[in-house]
C-alpha cells in the first residue's frame, strides 16, 4: 500500500486547528485554563516546536526504551545489587523514588492541560506525547522500587511519600502545585517544561545516571536514562511559548514565570540532589561536585538558552550562583540532624576523607559547616547520640517550605527575610523566595507551612513525636544514619572527651 511520505503530511497534522461553530472560542479555550494572554489564535498557530515526532515513531522508540530498562532490571535482579550496594547509594534511590515517582504521574496532568487547553496546536500535539511520557515515568519509577519493599518499608515511600504530610512532601507538593497543577496551559509550558525540566531534570537525571553507573547500579542508571531522553524532548515545549509571548509584548510576564520556576526548582534540588551528589554517593564514585555539575549543566546552559530566547538572566542569578557554595550544605545538615523526619537513611558523608574532599571542592568548608559537624562528631564519639537528634523544629520558609539555612561557624550569616501581610508575619529564606511570594500574594498567602500547622494545633501532641505522627512516619520508616555512624570512627583519636 502506498504510504504518503512523512514530510508531506506531518506539518498539516501537527498543526490541525478548527473554528468552533457550536461554542465560542472563549468557551472552548477558557482564559483561565488556556492562558492565551490576549494573543490571537492565529498567532498561537505559529507555535513551532523544535522536536517533531509522529505517533508511530513515538511508540516504536518508547517500546525500545521500556524493553531496554525492564530487561536490565530483570537480568540484574538475580544479582541482588541492592543487597550489597553502599547504604548511601540505597538512600539515594529511596529518596529519589519518594520525591519523584508520584510527581511524574502529576506531571502527566500538567501535560494533559496543555494537550487540551493550549491554543497552539503544535503544543497540544507535543503535550499528548508528554502526557504519555510522564505516565510511563510514574509507572516505571513505582514498579522498580516495588521489588525492594521486601527489603525495607522505606521503599514503599516511592508511592506513599506524596500522600503524606512529611515536610519534604509538603515542599515538593507546594512547588509542583504551583508550576503544573494550578497554572494555565501557557504557564505550564514555561514553568514546568522550560523552568523545571530543561534545567533541573538534567540535574537529577543526568547527574544521577552518571553516579549510578559509577556506583555499579546499572538498573537505576538505565531507568533514569530512559526517563531523561523523554524529558529532553518534551522539555522543549516552553521555548516556542516564550518566543510568542516575547514577540507579542509580554516579555515581562514571560520573564517572571521563568524566574519564579527557576528559583523554586533550584531550592527543591538543593535539598534533594545536593546532598545526594556531595554526601550520599560514596566518595570513590562521585563524578563531579554538586556545584561543578550545577555550573556546567544548569548555570551555563540556562544563560545560553535565556539569551537565545531574548530573555535576561533572572535578577537573582548572582544570589543563586553564590548559593551553590551554601544552600545544599545547609539542607544536608538539616536533613541529617532531623533524620527521623525523612523516609530514607541520610548518609553523613563527613568522614575524614569526605571532609578532605569537601574542603577541596568548597574551600572553607571546615571552618563553617565543619564546625557544626565537629560538635556532632564529638557527641557521637562520646556516646551522646541524643545530642545529634532534634528536640524542636527548624523554622520553615513560607515559599520553599524548606528550612531557613545559612552559613554557620566562622562565616555565620543566616538572614531571615520577613514580610508582614494582613497581620501575619511571613518568614523567607532569601530575597528571591520573598520576591516569588510578592509576585502573587493572593496565590500563596493562605498556605500553612509546617510551623504554622504546629502552632495552630493541627499537630498533636505538640512535640516532635506528634510531628512524626503527623508525617506518617512509623519506627521502621524513620531515617537513621545510613552507615550506623561508622564515618565518625575516623575521628576517635581527636575526639574531645566530654
Amino acid at each position: 500500500m502506498y504510504k504518503i511520505p512523512r514530510e508531506e503530511w506531518y506539518d498539516l497534522t501537527r498543526a490541525v486547528n478548527w473554528t468552533p461553530k457550536y461554542v465560542t472560542e472563549e468557551e472552548l479555550f477558557p482564559e483561565e485554563m488556556s492562558g492565551a494572554r490576549g494573543i490571537s489564535m492565529s498567532t498561537w498557530e505559529t507555535y513551532d516546536e523544535p522536536y517533531k515526532v509522529t505517533y508511530p515513531e513515538y511508540v516504536s522508540v518508547q517500546r525500545e526504551k521500556d524493553s531496554g530498562a525492564y530487561s536490565v532490571k530483570a537480568a540484574l535482579e538475580r544479582d541482588a545489587y541492592v543487597d550489597r550496594a553502599d547504604p548511601g547509594w540505597i538512600s539515594t534511590m529511596i529518596a529519589h523514588y519518594g520525591a519523584i515517582s508520584v510527581n511524574e504521574y502529576g506531571a502527566s496532568t500538567g501535560e494533559a492541560r496543555m494537550a487540551r487547553f493550549a491554543k497552539a496546536p503544535g503544543n497540544r500535539n507535543m503535550a499528548i506525547f508528554g502526557a504519555l511520557d510522564e505516565n510511563r515515568h510514574g509507572q516505571i519509577q513505582l514498579y522498580f522500587p516495588h521489588a525492594n519493599i521486601k527489603r525495607s518499608r522505606q521503599w514503599d515511600w516511592a508511592h506513599k511519600a506524596m500522600h503524606t504530610n512529611d515536610w519534604a512532601a509538603i515542599a515538593a507538593r507546594s512547588f509542583f502545585d504551583d508550576i503544573m497543577f494550578t497554572r494555565d496551559a501557557v504557564a505550564v509550558s514555561i514553568m514546568l517544561t522550560f523552568g523545571f525540566e530543561t534545567g533541573f531534570t538534567n540535574m537529577q537525571f543526568l547527574g544521577l545516571a552518571a553516579d549510578a553507573s559509577n556506583a555499579g547500579d546499572h538498573t537505576f542508571a538505565s531507568l533514569i536514562s530512559s526517563v531523561q531522553t523523554d524529558e529532553a524532548r518534551h522539555a522543549q515545549q516552553g521555548g516556542p511559548s516564550l518566543k510568542i509571548l516575547i514577540a507579542n509584548g509580554k516579555k515581562d510576564e514571560a520573564q517572571a514565570l521563568v524566574d519564579v520556576s527557576i528559583w523554586r526548582a533550584w531550592k527543591l534540588f538543593s535539598v534533594l540532589t545536593g546532598p545526594i551528589m556531595d554526601y550520599y554517593t560514596p566518595l570513590e564514585h562521585r563524578q563531579q561536585s554538586f556545584k561543578e555539575f550545577m555550573v556546567e549543566w544548569i548555570i551555563i546552559q540556562f544563560e545560553r538558552q535565556l539569551a537565545d530566547l531574548g530573555l535576561d538572566a533572572p535578577w537573582f542569578w548572582e544570589d543563586l550562583t553564590k548559593g551553590l557554595d551554601v544552600t545544599h550544605h545547609g539542607m544536608h545538615l538539616g536533613v541529617y540532624f532531623w533524620r527521623p523526619t525523612v523516609w530514607w537513611n541520610p548518609a553523613a558523608g563527613a568522614s575524614p576523607e569526605d571532609r578532605e574532599w569537601l574542603e577541596e571542592k568548597y574551600p572553607g568548608w571546615n571552618k563553617t559547616w565543619g564546625k557544626c559537624w565537629d560538635v556532632m562528631t564529638d557527641n557521637l564519639n562520646n556516646g551522646r547520640e541524643d545530642l545529634t537528634l532534634p528536640e524542636t523544629l527548624p523554622y520553615i520558609c513560607n515559599m520553599s517550605q524548606l528550612p531557613i539555612v545559612g552559613t554557620p561557624g566562622d562565616g555565620w550569616d543566616i538572614k531571615d527575610y520577613q514580610l508582614e501581610l494582613d497581620g501575619r508575619l511571613y518568614h523567607f529564606a532569601s530575597e528571591a523566595d520573598r520576591w516569588c511570594f510578592e509576585q502573587d500574594p493572593e496565590r500563596y498567602k493562605q498556605h500553612q507551612n509546617l510551623i504554622d500547622r504546629f502552632l495552630s494545633g493541627e499537630i498533636q501532641p505538640a512535640d516532635l513525636s506528634g510531628a512524626l505522627l503527623y508525617m506518617s512516619l512509623g519506627p521502621e520508616e524513620m531515617g537513621k544514619d545510613a552507615h550506623d555512624y561508622a564515618w565518625a570512627e575516623g575521628f576517635k583519636d581527636k575526639t574531645k572527651v566530654a
Binding site: 564546625k371 565537629d374 560538635v375 557527641n379 532534634p390 524542636t392 531557613i404 545559612g406 543566616i414
Partner: protein
C-alpha cells in the same frame, strides 16, 4: 504569663529554629532556651562568655534582665542570640 513562639537564630548555627518562650522570661532565660537547641549540638560551648539577645538584624542587645513582655515581639519574631564578653 503566656507562651510565645519565636524564631531563634543562634550564633554559629546553620538554621533558624522554633523555640517556645514565656512572656515573663528575661532575655537571659530566652538565650538559655535558644541555646538548648544549638549549643552542644552543633555549636561549641563558650563557657567564658555570656549570651545576649537582640532583634534579628539589630546591632543593639536587649538588657539581660529585660522581660519578653516588654520587648513588643510579634508571634514568631526572629531574634539573634550571640556570645559576648558581658
Amino acid at each position: 504569663m503566656a507562651v510565645l513562639p519565636i524564631c531563634a537564630n543562634f550564633e554559629g548555627d546553620f538554621v533558624l529554629q522554633l523555640v517556645s518562650v514565656d512572656t515573663d522570661d528575661t532575655m537571659d532565660q530566652v538565650a538559655e532556651k535558644c541555646a538548648h537547641h544549638s549549643v552542644g549540638r552543633r555549636v561549641a560551648p563558650q563557657p567564658q562568655k555570656v549570651m545576649r539577645v537582640r532583634l534579628h538584624g539589630s546591632n543593639e542587645n536587649y538588657p539581660r534582665g529585660m522581660k519578653v513582655s516588654d520587648a513588643s515581639w510579634r508571634a514568631t519574631e526572629t531574634v539573634d542570640v550571640t556570645f559576648a564578653d558581658q
